[in-house]
């Protein structure tokens, strides 16, 4: 499969995530859009890893394995981020009884 298809699929997923973050007010959905963007990056990393492997397998049998390790670390960081972020959202809901992120603009005052 050509690498361009993966690039364009990842761009599409990433831009859907961006549009979601910009348009929705619900904090949980904003959070899910961030997950979507992280996953598009992961997909692109795996595709590039296989591309690198296909190009360099003759000289190095482990070519491209670093990218998959990076994807693993991105998943680790995403899991930690989700646990903390959801705790923050629950606390925010307890205080304001809403998940509208516009409530957060009182940090301005």
């Amino acid at each position: 499969m050509k690498i361009e298809y993966y690039i364009f699929l990842s761009i599409a997923l990433f831009c859907i995530g961006i549009a979601g973050v910009l348009t929705r007010r619900n904090a949980i959905i904003v959070f899910m859009c961030i997950e979507l963007m992280l996953n598009s990056v992961n997909l692109l990393l795996v595709a590039f890893s296989k591309m690198h492997y296909a190009a360099n397998v003759a000289t190095n049998a482990n070519a491209g394995i670093d990218a998959q390790i990076f994807v693993f670390f991105i998943m680790v960081v995403a899991a930690a981020e989700v646990s903390v972020g959801l705790a923050i959202i629950v606390m925010m809901f307890r205080n304001t009884h809403s998940v509208d992120i516009n409530f957060l603009n009182r940090l301005k005052h």
Binding site: I3, I11, I18, A19, R25, N39, N42, I69, M91
Partner: protein
């Protein structure tokens, strides 16, 4: 679908569908370990966490805030413009025509990944374990306060 669903539960379910599709791509690219990890961690654990929180705080449709129409349009236009620019920039990329191989290679197997992870990347691995510990403590501390 994740973005346009009114109900957050539907949104989560569509996100699970998206993650399954991405996992299918991993399997096609012969990254079996990442396929399993993606299924278990993302489609399993994280999505269950999201569903749990949504059910816990009991969102119904009247808590969905009123949106400004122009703001929404501006967001969509901004996302579309970014996509347009990236596609236009990458259409003539240098690596055009390079192949991401299907069904070949064994770098995605647990054996090879594990060897590299525990030799070359052992320090980042330990740091990520510390990160997890601090995230766990942080989540408990934030959630505990009344």
């Amino acid at each position: 679908m994740v973005v346009i669903s009114k109900n957050p539960v539907h949104s989560v379910l569509w996100l699970v569908v998206t993650f399954f599709a991405i996992s299918g791509h991993y399997l096609l690219l012969n990254a079996q370990f990442l396929f399993i990890v993606n299924l278990i961690v993302y489609a399993g654990a994280i999505m269950v966490l999201f569903l749990f929180v949504i059910m816990l705080i009991n969102l119904n449709s009247d808590t969905e805030p009123k949106k400004n129409k122009w703001l929404k349009l501006a967001g969509i236009v901004a996302g579309g413009c970014l996509m347009l620019v990236l596609v236009a920039a990458l259409k003539e990329a240098e690596k055009k025509g390079a192949i991401a191989q299907y069904n070949s290679g064994n770098i995605g197997l647990i054996k090879n990944l594990g060897q590299v992870l525990y030799t070359d990347y052992v320090v980042p691995f330990e740091i990520s374990s510390v990160l997890f510990l601090s995230a766990m403590v942080g989540a408990v501390v934030i959630g505990k306060r009344d």
